[in-house]
Symmetry: C2
Subunit: 215 residues, 2 copies
DNA sequence: TAAGACTTATATGTATACATATAGGTAATT
DNA sequence: AATTACCTATATGTATACATATAAGTCTTA
């Protein structure tokens, strides 16, 4: 990872993820080259790579822009992500080891703690840890890759704070039920619960999209 | 698509898909540049892109090679592909339009014809058309993208002819049941049938891998 | 003022020139 | 013969120089 191009990819990806670069923003090759004090070559490489991965799009003769997803594209994305997260739960339940079980329980407890303290930052982190503990337990690294790829596309649209009142509490309760199903090796149930859980998030999409359009 | 780099990507992708380039084969930048009579720049871009997409891998200071998947990686791949193909069937059953229904039936008939004529080439084509008709009916373009991405990785390992006796017939019968479930709007059933169908293919993996190792 | 020709800045793609690190081979030394 | 020092070809990454097409602005002319 000594390559400038790789650092650029990382940096840009983070800026997109964090919302510093927002959907629709332009990325000018020359400007980036100057900003990072490198030549166009590694910049081009980074941009190409991000275009390949779908995070950027190029409008012919215009330049590269942070990709703007349509409502339909976002919904499709969510639908696939929900399916794969559900699959991860099913596999986790089927293949659970003792170690996996305790990671899941630990992450679950972190979520509860964060909710009790009403610490949204901690919750975000714990939430991620919860999902990751399940991914690990599923024992399919390609599945994890695919999920992460999809998450990378969804994240820019999550940058805005849309924590509805009481949603954190609800979300944690759903997590608890999912965790329970996995720990009891009820794969099909865990699958369904996770899919529903994800889809509840997805239902907030219209609100999110509206907020984006009007900014 | 006027770019040399894009043509290179296409060409190399096809050569990998078709088996002209086999897992483990090296791709030398200089050699490719000479072969296509272009400079290293577009070659590098193409190689980078294929590495990003996972079709190639680079061994540090060695060069780029057609990626070799381990047995575990292939199994993981198949597992995810089976899930998504199943999902496509479920969605297709739920969202089926009259047009979708007739495309599926048409493709199904093409499969039957190919089997009756024992025409393996025609079958391969019809089989693809069958899957694609379902993908279209699922109405989720991201899902299709993901499936195609996975297929691109599985294909190099399908290049070898491994049509077991009678498998074509069996496969078509499975297709018929899947099609029937979709046309009757039985989403869950279609999902399960397709997943099973895919997994039967997956079970041939050990044989395929053995064949690869020993060549 | 409006339509069309013209110009320019920019995006884009490619080629070439360097610079550096290292894998793998060669030579030297024991 | 084996180990080590050394050397060289190659991979790799970056910079720079061109070349071309076109979007967008400017100017001309009616």
């Amino acid at each position: 990872m000594a390559r400038v191009a790789d650092q650029l990819i990382e940096t840009l990806r983070n800026e997109i993820r964090s919302g510093a670069l927002r959907p629709g923003d332009q990325l000018e090759e020359a400007a980036l080259a100057e900003r990072f004090d490198v030549s166009r070559t590694p910049v081009r490489e980074a941009v190409r790579s991000l275009v390949d991965s779908g995070l950027l799009e190029t409008r012919p003769r215009k330049g590269a822009f942070v990709r703007v997803l349509t409502a339909k594209e976002l919904i499709d994305l969510f639908e696939v992500a929900a399916e794969l997260e559900g699959m991860a739960c099913r596999l986790a339940a089927e293949r659970l080891t003792g170690e996996d079980a305790s990671s899941i329980e630990t992450a679950m407890q972190l979520c509860r703690d964060a909710v009790n303290r009403d610490d949204k930052t901690a919750y975000a982190k714990a939430n991620l840890a919860f999902h990751e503990s399940i991914h690990l337990a599923a024992g399919n690294s390609r599945l994890v890759e695919q999920i992460e790829q999809l998450a990378g596309h969804i994240n820019p649209y999550r940058a805005m704070p849309f924590q509805m009142r009481g949603r954190l509490q609800k979300s944690t309760e759903e997590h608890a039920r999912i965790a329970e199903a996995i720990l009891e090796n009820k794969g099909a149930e865990a699958d369904d619960l996770m899919r529903d859980h994800m889809m509840l998030q997805g239902q907030r999409l219209p609100i999110i999209l509206e907020a984006i359009e009007s900014r």
